[in-house]
Amino acid sequence: MTGRINLKILSCVLAVGLAGCASFYEIPIETPIAAKLDVSAFQRVFIAGFISGGTDDVDGNLETVRLLRSQLRMKSNLRVVDADVLPLLDVASGRTEAGSSQAPRESGADAPEIKNEKDLQPYEHIFADADYWKRIGEEYQNPLIVTGTVLFTPHSQAGMVQREREVIDPLGRRRVEPVREYMERKGFILQEKFIFIDGRSGAQIYSEALREERLYNQNDNTPALSSYFELMDEIIPRFLSTLSTQRVRGSRVLIK
């Protein structure tokens, strides 16, 4: 009995002593990362539209415009222009590289197949067409214009994969151990090129290419649209960091 009381007193003394001697403290911090672009000259941002390709299961142009607009409304000080998405593929088909207009492709006509980066190239001249973008800029009160390309393509890969397996040892204890096994997986690759255009002059001021991919077990049957959103979750913070200062939350240890 006396021994147990002594033990309790000793543990109390130890606890108080240790609290007094604590030589490190975890503290939350928020590190600001400056925006890549100085957008102070703009009050509005217009996510104009994208030339998109890849799988037919997701409309890369519409989905990307919708998602970026909603993110910018929440996380940026710029006013987001709410206008129809530009059918850039049709516009690009209807304008020559010299910038002069031709009859645009009829929107009802079969869309050209864009399956890879090479297929995008014939349309990319539209991003350098300052006259066109200046006209768009005038229409929407000289905003910062965001456009570019979106390629969302199916992808599969076979190879050794490390995964975790739960095992129960002879004493009935659960533990997790890594196992390497050969697997065939399928998924998607999302490649986005964001082009930022000054709506006052129509000139490109910055561009950034981002790429993300996800692979799933063959049995998972992940729909293309949910995979697209998963991949965009990775891309959006990097897109936003172009326009506004981002604060990265974390914790560090202070030492005595």
Binding site: I33, A34, E208, V248, G250, R252, V253, L254, K256
Partner: protein, 117 residues
């Protein structure tokens, strides 16, 4: 003569030991005050305290570590890198400093990517 020289050396060593202990105690007081204010969100004051601590005792790794954390919080990433490196030079095996530095490097790399895309 050799005895006199020896006693001078011993006296000098003892005095410098006392001076070192004094510097460490002063620096430690600054570091502790800095921690208290940082925990209340007063990071500018914390930076002042930890800068003082590292001036008083430039061999005190904790001062440099804490200073690095505060610089990081204020977005002064180059200064933070320098302070972490000083802390690690003083205590290369300090796991806490190393852990902070590793976390910092991830952010520093991201920020560099932003500035040099």
């Amino acid at each position: 003569m050799p005895m006199r020289l020896l006693s001078v050396v011993v006296l000098f060593t003892a005095l410098s030991g006392v001076a070192y202990a004094d510097a460490r105690a002063d620096a430690k007081a600054q570091v502790e005050f800095g921690i208290a204010v940082a925990q209340r969100g007063l990071w500018k004051e914390a930076i002042y305290r930890w800068e003082r601590a590292t001036q008083i005792d430039p061999t005190y790794a904790a001062g440099f570590n804490n200073l690095a954390v505060a610089y990081e919080h204020e977005g002064m990433l180059d200064k933070a890198a320098e302070a972490y490196e000083r802390a690690l030079k003083l205590e290369p095996n300090n796991v806490l400093v190393r852990q902070n530095f590793e976390l910092f490097k991830e952010i520093h790399d991201r920020a560099n990517q932003s500035q040099n895309p």
